[in-house]
């Protein structure tokens, strides 16, 4: 397995270079270094000299990817792309174009993101599995039918509606939770309950339908029929056999998203004023802060690759038939 992991890590290097190059191209197709300078310096009373100096200070006065005037290898290395990309591979994110330490910002903002993302995932998982097991148990009945109808209806509603509706209903009309806000430390729970409830509820529709499908697929298999023929109760069949075997695809879905939980949720964080990583990238794009955009896309790619690797490894843990070679 070790050889497999090493190989996957090595595969990740060209992928990350590609992601980095793509981010670079997409960013600079839309924005030029002059645009970035104007955005940072403001629009009133900005002189050409100030723009030139801003670019020179941050190395944006160099050619983008090919320096025709340089000699030898410097044609490649004395460019914006090389300057801004190499350090990423050592996870040195450097400073944002406005002078902030990106690594420190990420380290600070990742915790509030995790504080809502992890409970939403766990609560959502518990609720979805319970609800889908219930539907699987009552399969073919009116409860199953109306449960599926409810799930489809819940899937059809925009996430934004859940957020605004939840804030108005639970925060404003019933006055049960703060509508938005955040406090670091132990007081954070008061601000997390509402987004976690809303996040979990908004995922019930799709989660339950998917898990119900997985359970129904298992319910129809021979080993379940055998278990029933042995006289096991329906509860024992569902929990002891169906749930355990359906856990493999559930685990796949869960493990792959675990690393990306760090990246936060844009809508929830924005509406609830939670200082996480969700809005960090979007803010950087709107402020044309290439340093942050590049760092966050790189981090996202690394985490996604890590998620896929963890999924592969988790297969070997839950299914003895799987071997990584």
């Amino acid at each position: 397995m070790m050889a497999y992991i090493v190989r996957r890590v090595l595969y990740a290097i060209p992928i990350l270079i590609g992601v980095n190059l793509l981010t670079f191209v997409l960013f600079f197709v839309v924005n030029s270094p002059d645009d970035m300078a104007r955005m940072h310096l403001g629009v009133k009373r900005v002189s050409d000299q100030a723009i030139a100096e801003w670019k020179a200070e941050r190395g944006y006065d160099k050619p983008l990817v090919w320096n025709a005037e340089a000699e030898g290898l410097a044609k490649l290395t004395d460019t914006i792309f090389f300057d801004k990309s190499v350090r990423l591979f050592a996870f040195d994110f450097g400073q944002s174009d406005s002078g902030r330490n990106i690594g420190h910002d990420i380290a600070q903002r990742m915790w509030p993101s995790l504080a809502i993302a992890v409970p939403i995932m766990l609560v959502g998982l518990a609720v979805n599995i319970s609800f889908s097991l219930l539907l699987a148990f009552f399969r073919g009945t009116y409860l199953d039918f109306w449960g599926v109808v409810l799930c489809v209806a819940m899937m059809s509603i925009s996430g934004l509606f859940y957020i605004i509706g939840g804030q108005v209903l639970l925060g404003k009309l019933l006055n049960l939770f703060p509508i938005s806000g955040y406090a670091p430390g132990p007081d954070a729970w008061r601000f997390l309950v509402l987004p976690v409830i809303i996040g979990a509820i908004s995922g019930i529709g799709s989660g339950t339908r998917w898990y119900r499908t997985l359970f129904l697929e298992e319910v129809g298999k021979d080993f379940v029929r055998t278990a029933r023929a042995k006289g096991l109760s329906e509860r024992a069949v569902l929990f002891g056999h169906v749930l355990r075997n359906a856990l493999i695809p559930i685990l796949t879905g869960v493990v792959v998203v675990i690393p990306t939980l760090f990246m936060g949720s844009l809508l929830l964080e924005s509406f609830f004023g939670i200082p996480g990583l969700g809005s960090y990238t979007i803010d950087a794009i709107s402020r044309q802060d290439f340093a942050i955009v590049r760092a966050m896309v790189f981090l996202g790619a690394v985490l996604y690759i890590l998620g896929l690797l963890l999924t592969d490894i988790s297969y070997t843990l839950v299914d003895p038939r799987v071997r990584l070679q």
């Binding site: 839309v30 030029s32 645009d35 104007r38 955005m39 940072h40 310096l41 403001g42 629009v43 009133k44 009373r45 900005v46 002189s47 050409d48 000299q49 100030a50 100096e53 801003w54 200070e57 400073q95 406005s98 002078g99 330490n101 420190h104 910002d105 600070q108 219930l134 148990f137 009552f138 009945t141 605004i164 804030q167 108005v168 925060g171 404003k172 009309l173 019933l174 006055n175 049960l176 939770f177 703060p178 509508i179 938005s180 806000g181 955040y182 670091p184 601000f191 029933r228 023929a229 006289g231 109760s233 329906e234 509860r235 924005s270 509406f271 609830f272 004023g273 200082p275 402020r287 044309q288």
Partner: protein, 731 residues
């Protein structure tokens, strides 16, 4: 047999619920603030976007000045109550002495003609005894050295905020701090947006910038991170004595005095700059751009713009008293109730990041924010427009004791023609073509109905503009005298937009009868460049198209991003465009310069985006900017505005109207469109706020219990069915 309570899951759930609810205590459950702050003298507000710069040399946005204006103190400020806006001393012990000199260096009388003035000197005396807020940069060791200078990078381990430097001290404000800040404005790495303007006026500013840049290069080469600007001399800035300094201008620039009331001219202690320039500080985000240091009534004690920013009372504040002069209207509104009392009244101001308008609005209604603007979505809930156009609060707002303040902003939003464009600007060498283009612009000016725009898109929050000068700026004229005769007629005591027939007649005279371009035989096509995009802007853009369609003109919208838009403006490739301007200071020069020829965007990279050039207008501008406010200046301005109305390089769109709401416990609220340091005037009745918040936010739990009951009831048949299945024989 008895079961222990914990073994019953329903009982456990009930117990947990009661514990959680019981733990919430007396304050409302949905209260986002600590209870001790709510009943105290604490101001709660929000901000939607993180301020980019808090360094007074760079900061130039209202959302940044909202914070640093409470911390930094320039020599002058605006009087809080007096209208028209009036400058008064802040840290200065009087208004600056202004002296004019001729080319031979002889002192001229105060009213000397501008053409005789070769240099102008501003002599400023600051009050002794003013001290800076506590700051680690001032902290000293027993032997007189600086406690936190020099530091090595390893000394910064585990230090990530200014609060991680526990020892602080202060020192007295001196004139040299003001001189130091002016040098910082010239220092190229600081990228001050005012550097270009000041280089045109302050003696030796440009030469200083060059010398300082050279010194910075030498320092960098020697491994020094901080360039000490003190030994470098700027000819135009002299420190006369400990409390006096002078600024010498190489011309007559009467508007300069307004800049002395901005943060650009606030003092900067060199120790603070040196402290923040130490190795490792920038990597830890401990920068001057993040931690302002001033002498003002407040200091920024928490700066986490991803969550909240907190200003607290500066214990070293020199003291200031609430103004005693105001109008009768001010007295009637209670704005003089605190006259003569020491300021500031509040101890702390908490600004929470609130990116979305809906939660911000709802929290204001719950009483958790003391004041609020009104987003378009919430406008109808808050305000009703009466038949006479006057805004009144809805009964729901009045019931809560919420008050509404409105003010026409000293801003203008306009639609401009690029005068370099041959179709809308005309051939500058051909008077006949100029006349054609002028009539085309005038016809469009009549057709584009800004009253309708304001009603549809701004909820009536705006005043149609008849010229470039908004109300509150000297030169603005109201009523019949102020109308734009090209676009309006005066009828029944009010301005009435001219008919579309008149516009069509002008269009026909321009050679475009029924909007047909004789060159093509089809509808005249004009191009509107805009940075508006996305679904939210579609209706606005369609509205513009419809306005031009009234004349038979086909308007093609070229929507792009703001970068491309700016590029087009710089190159002069746009034809029609929309832009706006917000006053830097309350002087007509700050608006009329937007149409001054030598400020043309394409040729001079100035702020004249229309690239309008008119010899008579330019000559009048030169005269007007040096005249004191009075009849003569008004006459010149009237002529300048008349030229603009006739030439119509802009469709004078509208002056936006600001609406703000505040709760009954929030006192001394008064819209001030020039001053930003207004937090010190505000007073909060914390006890009343706490009572109202409790009253308005009683938790409503019965729907939850009902829902729980319904769930339990609905579970009964399911459980029965489950049991029946379990008992059923296999088939």
């Amino acid at each position: 047999m008895f079961k222990r309570p914990g073994h019953n899951p329903f009982r456990l759930l009930l117990l947990l619920t009661l514990l959680v609810l019981g733990g919430c205590g007396d304050p409302p459950w949905n209260d986002p603030w600590p209870s001790e702050d709510v009943s105290g003298s604490v101001f709660f507000s929000s901000f939607a976007e993180r301020p980019k710069y808090l360094d007074p040399a760079r900061s130039y946005s209202s959302n940044e000045w909202a914070f640093i204006s409470q911390v930094y103190e320039p020599p002058l400020q605006y009087h809080y109550l007096k209208r028209p806006y009036e400058l008064v001393p802040l840290t200065a012990d009087g208004m600056p002495e202004v002296r004019h000199y001729d080319a031979a260096g002889r002192l001229l009388p105060a009213d000397a003609p501008a053409e005789q003035v070769a240099t102008t000197e501003y002599l400023i005396h600051i009050r002794p005894g003013i001290r800076y807020q506590p700051h680690p940069a001032f902290a000293r060791t027993a032997d007189g050295g600086y406690r936190y200078w020099p530091l090595r990078e390893e000394d910064l381990a585990e230090r990530y905020t200014l609060a991680d430097f526990p020892e602080t001290d202060t020192r007295e404000l001196v004139a040299a701090d003001y001189a130091y800040q002016i040098k910082r404005l010239a220092f190229p790495p600081n990228h001050s947006p005012l550097a270009g303007l000041l280089a045109e006026h302050i003696e030796g500013f440009a030469a200083f910038a060059k010398a300082a840049a050279e010194q910075a290069r030498r320092d960098r080469d020697a491994g020094r991170l901080w360039t000490d600007l003190r030994p470098l001399q700027m000819d135009g800035v002299q420190v006369i004595d400990r409390y006096t300094y002078s600024i010498r201008l190489k011309d007559s620039y009467p508007q300069f005095i307004y800049w002395l009331a901005t943060n650009f001219f606030a003092p900067m202690p060199w120790e603070a700059e040196r402290f923040h320039a130490q190795p490792g500080m920038a990597e830890r985000n401990i920068t001057l751009n993040w931690y302002p240091v001033g002498t003002g009534p407040f200091m920024l004690t928490e700066n986490n713009p991803n969550l909240r920013m907190v200003l607290e009372r500066n214990p070293n504040f020199h003291g200031e008293r609430y103004p005693t002069e105001g109008s009768e209207a001010d007295r009637a509104r209670g704005l003089l109730d605190d006259a003569g009392k020491p300021m500031p009244f509040i101890d702390k101001a908490v600004y929470a990041l609130e990116k979305e308008a809906i939660p911000r609005w709802n929290k204001f209604l719950q009483g958790y924010y003391d004041s609020s603007g009104i987003a378009s979505d919430s406008f109808d809930q808050a305000v009703q427009l009466a038949a006479d156009g006057e805004a009144r609060l809805t009964p729901e707002m009045r019931e809560k004791g919420i008050a509404l303040d409105t003010a026409v902003e000293t801003s203008i939003y306009y639609l401009g023609f690029n005068m370099r464009d041959p179709v809308v600007g005309g051939d500058p060498d051909d008077p006949a073509d100029q006349e054609r283009a002028r009539k085309l612009r005038q016809a469009i000016a009549i057709a584009v109905d800004w009253e309708e725009f304001i009603a549809i898109f701004n909820n009536g929050r705006g005043l149609p503009a008849h010229g470039p000068l908004p109300p509150g700026i000297f030169g603005y004229r109201e009523g019949r005298e102020g109308i734009n005769p090209v676009v309006y007629r005066w009828q029944d005591g009010k301005a009435v937009r001219r008919s579309i027939e008149e516009a069509k007649r002008l269009l026909a005279e321009a050679g475009y009868a029924d909007g047909i371009d004789p060159a093509t035989g089809n509808a005249l096509v004009l191009y509107y460049d805009t940075a508006l995009s996305g679904p939210g802007s579609k209706s606005i853009l369609q509205w513009y198209v419809n306005q031009f369609r009234k004349l038979g003109i086909s308007l093609v919208v070229r929507a792009t991003d703001y970068n491309r838009f700016q590029e087009k403006m710089l190159k002069g490739t746009a034809q029609l465009f929309s832009w706006g301007w917000n006053a830097d200071y309350p002087d007509p020069e700050n608006f009329l310069f937007l149409l001054y020829g030598p400020n043309g965007k394409v040729e001079h990279h100035g702020e004249n985006a229309a690239n309008f050039a008119n010899a008579e207008f330019d000559a009048l501008f030169e005269r007007m900017k040096n005249l004191p406010n009075g009849a003569e200046r008004q006459q010149v301005i009237d002529r300048m505005v008349a030229i603009l109305q006739t030439e119509s390089p802009w469709l004078f769109g509208y002056y936006p109207k600001a609406f703000s709401l505040h709760h009954v416990w929030y006192h001394n609220a008064l819209p001030h469109l020039m001053a930003n340091n207004t937090l010190k005037y505000k007073r909060i009745d914390g006890a009343l706020r706490a009572r109202r918040q409790k009253e308005w936010n009683q938790p409503v739990t019965w729907p939850l219990w009902t829902l729980l009951g319904l769930l339990v009831l609905s579970a009964v048949p399911a459980i029965r069915d489950y049991r029946a299945r379990e008992r059923r024989r296999a088939r």
